[in-house]
Amino acid sequence: MRRLRQWGPGLALLSPSLILLAVFVYGLIAWTLKVSVSDEHTALGSKGFVGLDNYTKLFTDDINDRFVHSLKNLLIFTAVFLVGTMFFGLLWAFLLERGVRAEGFFRTVYLFPMAVSFIASGVVWRWLMNPNKGEGAGGLNAVFGAVHLDFLQSTWWTNPNWGMASMAIPAMWQLSGYVMALFLAGFRGIPQELREAAAMDGASTYRLYRNVIFPQLTPVALSALIIIGHMSMKMFDLIMSVSGPQWLTEVPAVYVWQALLTSDYAKAAAISIILLLLVAVVIVPYLIYTNRAEKSS
């Protein structure tokens, strides 16, 4: 009774949210799981149980290996996106870290794409990544032509082999500033004394960064990788906006949408669950890790 009085009011305040999340996150995931092991392939929906058939079929019996192809696209996209945002994010943070004049201005500009939706920025990136080369070139290809770097001209995402790599360019444009902000906060979190101590010991700038500063940034880098990585796996808006749903640029998140358009609920559900597992593999260890780190601090 005493415990109830102690925790009761707090729980009462919290419980509506807990119930809503239990139903709308965990309950609906369970529901999707159920659809994914059924044979609901049309809007009529006979709801027999088929075990893991829908999952195995995605890997073994999908037309043109469509699902495997979408995973391959996702892998290429994610690799370029991660490396790119980490590189530019760290570089920008490094440029601003020691204090530059008008730092606020640079920060504001580097971060502004975060405030824009992928749908809006996709409108212009679709044009910037115009595949025409040479005389008829526009967008980025025209810029490369103008500065005599014609060999950089590309067919961008319309290239069937590595086109997905260029789909990561708008994504990098949008999120490098975010990684910069994370790193900048990390840099500023390093105690000034640490730098001074290293300087007293006669460490060169290179050694200062290599042995003192960068090791301190490891947790920030990990956070950035996890956040960007999980965003990448969910990437949907950007692709819908730049190329629209189509074979060349299809990723699992878009495939779900396409499968739903044909009322193949079971297939859409199976892809969604795989997507959820991919995200969970990254996020769950991270959540546990941060939870522990918080407790021990």
Binding site: G10, W92, R98, A115, R126, G138, L260, V279, L287
Partner: protein
């Protein structure tokens, strides 16, 4: 709301502390640094340049090869065309984003307060389970979600979207407020209020809420921006007639032979509210971004 009318954010909300001023000599290294920094400013602003110049073009002026040129004849006709196409959804998106921002923030404040002060058994596990909800790919709930909102009889379009954004916004808002309260509200304040015999609700309403404004600014901006920029829920749960501006813009720009100038003007119109918020309240905007990386 302008920057000056709100109290300056405390350290938990403004995560990038300004660097202590130390004047350094202006050597060759720093010239390279400035050149690089300016080069990247140009690169980052390039798409914005194309958006702006194209939006003021019309007719034969619009073309792939002349993309980088200034308009040979400046006109706002593409802007008015875009506005005509987007205006109804522009208003609808306000009707969506404003309630979402307010409701989510109040719910988040209550949850965050409880989780930061009332350490009931299993509170950490509960908190982790809440947080997981903000990382899931929403496709994993979308199929039954469509059914369930119809079944419980919420009107399609904006009301449905308000409902789902509020629910799936609970984790991030709870997180932001929990971190805010854990780092900025002194334990003694809550304790004193408890000693005075105030219950949880009274403590929250009279002591905590009045000092929560910086937290509210962050969650309001965050939820407003996410609801405004959302496309995933919109495309699954609404259509061009009753949905928000992202769907309308994609319909305008993704047509078979799209009017590029009108699309670009439309993209600018679509981005304007969130950009204004970002420019005016940038510091708080960053606070929300940082909270997304879980650690405070």
């Amino acid at each position: 709301m302008t920057t000056s009318s709100v109290a300056s954010p405390p350290s938990a909300i403004e995560p990038i502390a300004p660097r202590p001023k130390t004047r350094r000599p202006f050597g060759p290294g720093s010239i390279v640094k400035y050149l690089l920094a300016i080069f990247f400013v140009v690169v980052v602003l390039m798409p914005l340049y194309v958006l702006i110049v194209t939006s003021f073009k019309a007719g034969s002026d619009i073309g792939v090869t002349s993309q980088w040129n200034l308009p040979s004849h400046w006109t706002v006709s593409s802007w008015s065309k875009a506005w005509t196409a987007l205006q109804p959804s522009f208003i609808r998106t306000f009707e969506l984003a404003v309630p979402v921002a307010l409701i989510s923030s109040i719910v988040g404040a209550a949850n965050g307060f409880v989780l930061s002060r009332w350490r009931f058994p299993g509170a950490d596990v509960v908190f982790t389970l809440i947080l997981f909800g903000m990382f899931i790919p929403y496709q994993a709930v979308m199929i039954p979600l469509r059914e369930i909102v119809t079944t419980i009889g919420i009107q399609p379009g904006i009301p449905t979207l308000i409902f789902v954004h509020c629910i799936y916004g609970i984790p991030i808002c709870t997180l932001i407020f929990r971190n805010y309260y854990a780092t900025t509200v002194p334990e003694e304040l809550v304790e004193a209020s408890r000693v005075d015999g105030a219950g949880l609700l009274r403590t929250f309403g009279w002591i905590i809420l009045p000092i929560s404004i910086p937290g509210f600014v962050v969650t309001i901006i965050w939820q407003f921006t996410s609801a405004w920029n959302d496309y995933l829920f919109a495309i699954f749960l609404a259509n061009t007639r009753n949905g928000p501006i992202t769907i309308a813009l994609n319909a305008l720009a993704g047509a078979q032979s799209p009017d590029y100038a009108a699309s670009m003007a439309g993209a600018l119109i679509t981005s304007l509210p969130t950009l204004v918020v970002y420019v005016l309240l940038g510091r708080w905007f960053i606070g929300g971004l940082m909270a997304g990386s879980v650690k405070s």
